[in-house]
Symmetry: C2
């Protein structure tokens, strides 16, 4: 494999906890710039209750505006229940991202029931979307550990992935929600899940909370993963840890793969202009490294 | 291999470009705290001209104070020429770190001659130290690339390592001075150098400029490296790139290896108190992640 697909989630996961509200027009500009940089998959919003995530309340309108304009781009959005699926159908979405937690504690906090009970509902939701001709990927949260429960059984992850694949999900996304994953674990679990769901794609959503995001990405690549979630500038992730970044910065992932001779189709210099725009809009520097390095160019010490 | 040795370089590489001058008493406290956390190897200063690096002008005094107090700790310092070696001998140092660049441009900037010419002098310096019963490690700077020259020939690195090993260096340290190394390259070059210098140790000094420090560390470990340079809090590295951290934070490396089941002998919670002290002394947060994560404990979002 000499290529990978990077899915930028900055417009959804990146913005969802930001205090500053970006208007639709601005998000459309950011989307356009990301596509210009070479991104082919973008997670642009959530079909969830506007009170839960006000930042993505404009998702319906957003996808209607861009739907026909970008036929080559995979545009996806988060759906968590039947109401969200209805909205997504009304918007004629062809791809959706769903999410379930492998941690019982986390699952109870989110949907008031343990994960295997939540799985039953999720399977119905996946089937319903698939019956409408929608491609579905399901993210399994806390796949590499949970701050409440510690380690999560790998057998449980494999079982959840298998059942979701059987129900029609085309892609299983293993999410390191807490940033507790480490490279050896990523390799081991990814290989097990790939083996358990033949014919399905496996993707990774890695948080950099403990500084292991890029190392885990490399481990995932070595284990056979071809699709990775990233976020321009490293925007998003967990907002409650001071100084901790969340998602792997898109530009740092592009550099990793560029250096490794693995094709992403993304122009890092064009991409960094989008990071600039995010930084200007949000009024702070984002944690990604390559935007700084490219600006410093030869001005830094060897 | 289920253990690694982490050499903390915060007192030397970490402090050398800091504006704020730390007095000897404070450095001794920091050293003591690092040893308490479990560090067994520390690079504490430089025997270079005080005008070049004023921060380490007290190295002679520092090592005299601690020399007999810590018999189990490997205390090392940087030496770049014969005058420095004389001072180190006067201080009865038993281990020294020397340094040469594999990049001709970088070497010319540092010692006014290309690297293979500088190698001739370095070999004499190594021999002279070894003849005095001093163990020597030599760092090969820009081993993974140079901002002026781009890629550096791997054959050249292997040749330099071989000749330094023949001259008596017990350890070759491959330094990613510019942070341009990437995991596949680290694995490939480390394996070649290990093969070329049987009976010598190979260590890695990795900069996190492009966010690949930890990923490169894991790659080095997988390729057989047992000794890694780290710096508490991620202090040090290149001060001229805004927002770019330099050295791999000791606490983040400890977490990586703890999670991977690899023994470091270091207690991360005790270590983070040293990071706190550095942050207080220098008046800013350092880039390491684990100090933040440990403080946030269960207060952060899963």
């Amino acid at each position: 494999m000499t290529w990978v697909i990077l899915e930028d989630v900055s417009l959804r996961d990146g913005l969802q906890f930001e205090q500053k509200f970006l208007p639709l027009e601005e998000k459309l500009i950011l989307f356009h710039l990301l596509v210009n940089a070479g991104l082919k998959r973008l997670q642009v919003g959530s079909f969830v209750h506007p009170e839960l995530i006000p930042q993505t309340a404009d998702t319906d309108e957003f996808v209607r505006v861009i739907k026909d304009e970008y036929p080559d781009i995979l545009v996806t959005a988060l759906v968590l229940n039947g109401k969200g699926l209805e909205r997504a159908r009304d918007c004629q979405m062809s791809h959706l991202t769903m999410s379930i937690s492998a941690s019982d504690s986390h699952s109870r906090r989110n949907v008031n029931r343990p994960s295997l009970e939540a799985l039953t509902d999720m399977i119905e939701l996946v089937k319903s979307a698939v019956d409408s001709g929608i491609q579905v990927r399901v993210g399994i949260q806390c796949a590499f550990g949970c701050v409440y429960e510690g380690a999560i059984s790998e057998d449980k992850i494999v079982e959840m992935a298998s059942r979701l694949a059987e129900s029609g999900a085309v892609e299983l996304n293993l999410a390191d929600t807490t940033g507790m994953g480490h490279p050896m674990q990523v390799k081991r679990l990814v290989k097990r899940v790939i083996h358990a769901v033949p014919g399905r794609s496996i993707s990774l959503h890695l948080h950099d909370t403990r500084g292991l995001g890029i190392a885990n990405m490399m481990a995932g690549y070595e284990a056979g993963v071809e699709i990775f979630d990233v976020s321009a500038g490293g925007l998003g992730g967990c907002p409650f840890v001071l100084g901790a970044s969340g998602n792997v910065p898109t530009e740092d992932a592009v550099n990793l793969f560029d250096q490794s001779g693995v094709h992403t189709g993304i122009d890092i210099e064009v991409l960094c202009k989008v990071v600039d725009r995010y930084e200007e809009l949000l009024g702070r520097l984002l944690p990604g490294r390559m935007n700084r390095v490219i600006k410093a160019q030869n001005g830094f010490c060897p």
